[in-house]
């Protein structure tokens, strides 16, 4: 298995135990000296030491010195979680010419000092965990990591601003990128906005050049109207299947001239226009918006009579000089090999109907913030005009913050964007209509570059701010001034009184939520998600764009609510992580794979079908099972099943675990 010398070949194993104080993180609860004294009494332990920070250079040197001087030949570090610093100490082992797998961590921080109120109990539990680590490490064998080459292509899932930025960064670095977007166009939410806070620069002006750069980039393959159907493989070598839904328009022939749209037998829109969040209607054949990328028409099978009933004059076909329309188009599965994956699947906005007391869907002039974004957009359904359903301009507008945010009944978390975009909308509405604008907020949260200044600016623009969560919105007038108005009732917590503000129009600043299919997506990519359903990063501070699945990275709001600057920054970080992986050229696989001890295998085949990766096959010549180490991911389920104990798992052999059990329990 390995060329490294077996350290115990010249006698008994020599175990070094190193207990970390972690400042007072551990030492504040665990009597470190007592655990060191205890470790010194354990069989095979030749050295037991403590240090303030074992992971620091001097801490590592302490271990390396003992290794170099031959005082120890295997190492137990009692400190934080192995998920935190196992790689650090393994590197330290390598630097001291020791095999990195003659190493074991006892997790006395996350599993002990941080969770145990009683000092005595914490010390005793630490001793037990150290005893367990010592008991198993005497059975460790030197192992070597296998290297697997990394495919230099990358997959980016989601074509919002995060996905676009990540894809461009990777493509500019010379990597081939597949960008998959489920809508007919890229652009995401940002394409729907008019202005962006706090600089008020035009959203389309900064986004559309990036969209067309994606379209024209030689290194980017853009697949819109497509979804990832399945992912197999592992870091550096993912095999991804992409389902390309039929758009019934040949992408390579369509030039986006709108002739087909104009020629459609439906002369008006018949179905809700997704891009305008339902504020307008579109025809069965449509282009989402004039800057759509790719600028290719798409036919909606739900409303097209030709597709639904096979009965239409097919005027669109006649109108298209290039013959791009193809009703026979079928779903297509593309299969690609990539080394790294970036998920940038974004978010959905909170459904304001869920809070019935706010009257959304009941009263005509209550809009969500996203609807107003479209309304204030010059390219939107109203041409940038803000008006009521009856066509009049509103004279008073109420903006309600935190709809579906910061409320345990809906979402306990802060959307991180609604304060700022509410301020932006307040500014735009005032600018377009001259209305009196009331902002109802819980707290004003403006932590960002130029954000507080933007708030100051709004204060000077005479926008009204009422601190208090809105209780109810109704048309129930109690005084003549409220007649025909929407009445917003809220407690003004600065005044200490309940106020009723009659307005013409209400904007509900909805929060951000994970997509409905986020759970399916994360399962496809084998990653975890938080309680709320956001994709879970590997570490909130130190690995914010990585996941627990190596080679899968996160960008943008799929990881949690984020504004544009943060999404772009994170997309850049994810691209850099993916590049670091790809440019290294290889990945080292943890050698915790299963192996067959051939002399004990009876060929019963219990294991063969159990392997989820088809890593176990039956060797007909030898009449026994054999494990393909390159395919084995090291779950060990075959080992647990093997009736002969012939299958074992490196780093988790039966014997090692049985020893660990003895160790952990031997110390009461």
């Amino acid at each position: 298995m390995s060329t490294a010398k077996t350290p115990s070949s010249n006698g008994k194993p020599k175990v070094g135990v190193y207990v970390c104080h972690c400042g007072i993180n551990i030492a504040g609860k665990v009597n470190v000296q007592e655990t060191v004294d205890f470790a010194g009494t354990l069989p095979n332990v030749t050295v037991a030491r403590e240090y303030k920070f074992m992971c620091s250079d001097p801490g590592q040197e302490l271990i390396q010195k003992d290794l170099r001087e031959g005082l120890v030949d295997r190492v137990v570090v009692a400190s934080c979680s192995p998920l935190m610093h196992e790689p650090t100490f393994r590197r330290a082992m390598i630097a001291a010419d020791a095999n990195p797998f003659l190493f074991q961590m006892a997790n006395i921080r996350e599993h002990v000092s941080w969770v145990t109120p009683d000092k005595g109990a914490a010390t005793e539990k630490s001793k037990a965990l150290i005893a367990a680590a010592v008991a198993r490490i005497v059975l460790h064998k030197p192992l070597e990591k296998t290297r697997v080459p990394v495919n230099s292509n990358a997959l980016v899932v989601g074509g919002g601003i995060a996905g676009i930025h990540a894809a461009l960064t990777l493509a500019d670095a010379g990597r081939k990128v597949y960008l998959v977007e489920k809508e007919p166009t890229i652009g995401g939410h940002m394409a729907k906005f008019d202005k962006t806070f706090p600089t008020l620069d035009c959203s389309a002006c900064i986004l559309t050049p990036k969209m067309s750069a994606v379209r024209s980039h030689p290194n980017i393959t853009l697949w819109t109207y497509s979804e990832v159907a399945g992912v197999e493989g592992f870091v550096g070598n993912f095999n991804v299947k992409v389902r390309r839904k039929p758009r019934y328009v040949k992408e390579d022939l369509c030039v986006g001239c709108y002739e087909c749209v104009e020629a459609c037998v439906f002369k008006k829109g018949v179905t809700k226009d997704e891009f305008n969040v339902g504020l307008s209607k579109r025809r069965p054949i449509y282009i989402p918006f004039p800057q759509a990328t790719p600028l290719v028409a798409v036919i909606d099978p739900e409303s097209c009579v030709q597709i639904k009933r096979n009965k239409c004059k097919k005027t669109c076909v006649d109108a298209c000089e290039r013959g791009a329309i193809d009703f026979d188009q079928k779903e297509e599965i593309k299969e690609v090999e990539v080394g790294a994956i970036i998920l940038a699947t974004g978010f959905k906005t909170f459904d304001a109907r869920r809070i019935s007391r706010y009257g959304y869907g009941k009263y005509p002039n209550i809009y969500t913030s996203l609807e107003v974004e479209r309304m204030v957009n010059a390219a939107g359904p109203t041409g940038g005009e803000v008006h009521l359903k009856n066509g009049e301009k509103p004279r008073t507008v109420g903006i309600v913050h935190c709809v579906g945010s910061r409320d345990s009944r809906t979402n306990a978390y802060c959307s991180r964007v609604c304060c700022m975009y509410s301020l932006k909308l307040a500014h735009l509405i005032k600018e377009r209509t001259g209305a009196e604008v009331y902002n109802f907020y819980i707290d004003m949260r403006t932590p960002g570059k130029g954000y507080e200044e933007f708030y100051e600016k709004l204060l000077k623009e005479n926008v009204h701010f009422i601190r208090g969560r809105v209780a109810e919105i109704s048309d129930w007038a109690t005084i003549p001034e409220e007649e025909g108005k929407l009445v917003i009732r809220a407690e003004d917590t600065l005044v200490g009184a309940v106020r009723r503000i009659p307005v013409d129009m209400v904007v509900l600043s909805v929060g951000l939520e994970p997509h409905d299919d986020a759970d399916d997506v994360r399962r496809k990519f084998n990653i975890s998600c938080s309680h709320e359903g956001w994709f879970l990063e590997r570490h909130p501070k130190l690995a914010p764009v990585s996941t627990f699945t190596d080679g899968v990275f996160l960008a943008g709001a799929c990881q949690g609510p984020k504004d544009i600057p943060d999404s772009v920054a994170q997309a850049g970080a994810a691209a850099a992580e993916a590049l670091a992986l790809i440019d290294k050229g290889y990945v080292e696989l943890e050698p915790n794979t299963a192996y067959v001890q051939e002399e004990f295998c009876s060929g019963c085949k219990t294991c063969v079908a159990l392997c989820p990766y088809s890593a176990i096959s039956f060797n007909v010549e030898k009449n026994i099972s054999s494990v393909n180490g390159a395919l084995c991911k090291g779950c060990g389920t075959c080992v647990a099943a093997c009736p002969s104990g012939a299958l074992q798992q490196n780093l988790f052999t039966d014997e090692q675990i049985l020893h660990e059990i003895e160790g952990v329990i031997s110390y009461v």
């Binding site: 002399e599 060929g603 079908a609 099943a641 002969s644 039966d654």
Partner: protein
């Protein structure tokens, strides 16, 4: 030069282990020619005093079959141990507890109640149970004490070799005698059988599909058993994959699933647990209810997985919370 002396003894067993010595057939003459049998209560008229009169270590080998579950058996195996250079645990009961070991599912009181009161064929209105001491006009009559827990031989005395099987296969018995006579025994503590599971020698091995998982486990009386095909692949709970080979696949050759008398191979710590794990792994379902449905066909997990080895298991016996004061 006098021939080495050997002894046979039976503890809690059925007699089948003694029978298998006779099953050697003509070869038994070779054995008799090579050794002197000086103690074999089943076959010949020896008394305990015959053993007591031997010098310590005078017996070259004692072959002890049966589990140990009474004070008498305890005394006898200690006596034999003292008189013998080597002790062979002969057969499943001595090796891992065997069928009598299933008594460890109950305590002594429950067994007495069952045997002397509850069995339909018993009429015992006076509720008479055996007493260990009873005064008669002729003197005091005694009976051995029956233990609450059945033990394997090596839980009572040190054992040098184990010959597994219920009964041990004749071929392995012959091989053992050969090795003893020639002085070619393996290191002490060895199990005198090949260290690989039964599938290795089962004639049905070739018929195993790659996917062994099952939607339904079946019991032998429920199906017409295909005489060629792997029994486990037919859904029968054949424990061949978990059980040491050496029997020549005696049961599977005649259409009966292996029940595990040869015990585990050396990599396995607890036979029944490994059997349970392997069998459960074969249940082809992920849905909780469906899993239950498949596994409910394992009607009696202890009896299925520990038919021959309950006393040798990590749990050893049915759990009886130790009452304080008795500790």
């Amino acid at each position: 030069m006098s021939k080495p002396k050997v002894g046979f003894y039976w503890c809690a067993s059925c007699g089948g282990c003694d029978e298998v010595v006779v099953d050697l057939g003509a070869d038994i003459l070779k054995v008799v020619g090579a050794v002197d049998i000086v103690f074999w209560p089943v076959a010949m008229d020896f008394k305990r005093s015959d053993v007591e009169n031997l010098a310590d270590g005078e017996l070259a080998v004692s072959f002890i079959n049966g589990a140990v579950r009474s004070s008498e058996q305890h005394e006898m195996v200690e006596l034999l141990r003292r008189k013998s250079q080597l002790v062979v645990a002969f057969g499943s009961c001595a090796h891992t507890g065997g069928i009598p070991g299933l008594a460890n599912l109950f305590d002594r009181r429950a067994m007495f109640e069952e045997a002397f009161f509850n069995v339909p064929s018993v009429v015992n209105e006076e509720k008479v149970v055996p007493l260990e001491e009873y005064k008669t006009p002729q003197g005091i009559v005694t009976l051995p004490n029956l233990w609450n827990t059945v033990k394997t031989l090596d839980q009572v005395i040190p054992v040098d070799y184990y010959l597994p099987g219920c009964p041990p296969p004749v071929s392995l018995v012959g091989e053992m005698f050969n090795k003893i006579v020639k002085g070619e025994l393996p290191p002490r503590g060895s199990i005198l059988a090949p260290d690989i599971a039964l599938c290795d020698e089962c004639p049905r091995k070739e018929t195993k599909p790659d996917k062994m998982s099952q939607k339904e486990f079946k019991r032998p009386h429920e199906i017409m058993i295909d005489p060629e095909k792997c029994l486990l692949a037919q859904g029968l709970l054949c424990l061949g994959p978990i059980t040491r080979k050496g029997c020549g696949a005696a049961c599977t050759r005649v259409n009966m699933p292996c029940t595990g008398c040869m015990g585990p191979v050396s990599n396995v710590l607890d036979y029944g647990m490994k059997a349970l794990s392997a069998v459960a792994s074969l249940a082809d379902a992920n849905d909780e209810e469906e899993i239950e449905k498949i596994l409910c066909k394992v009607v009696d997990p202890v009896g299925t997985f520990y038919r021959y080895s309950l006393p040798a298991s990590l749990l050893h016996r049915h759990y009886q919370p130790v009452v304080q004061g008795e500790k």
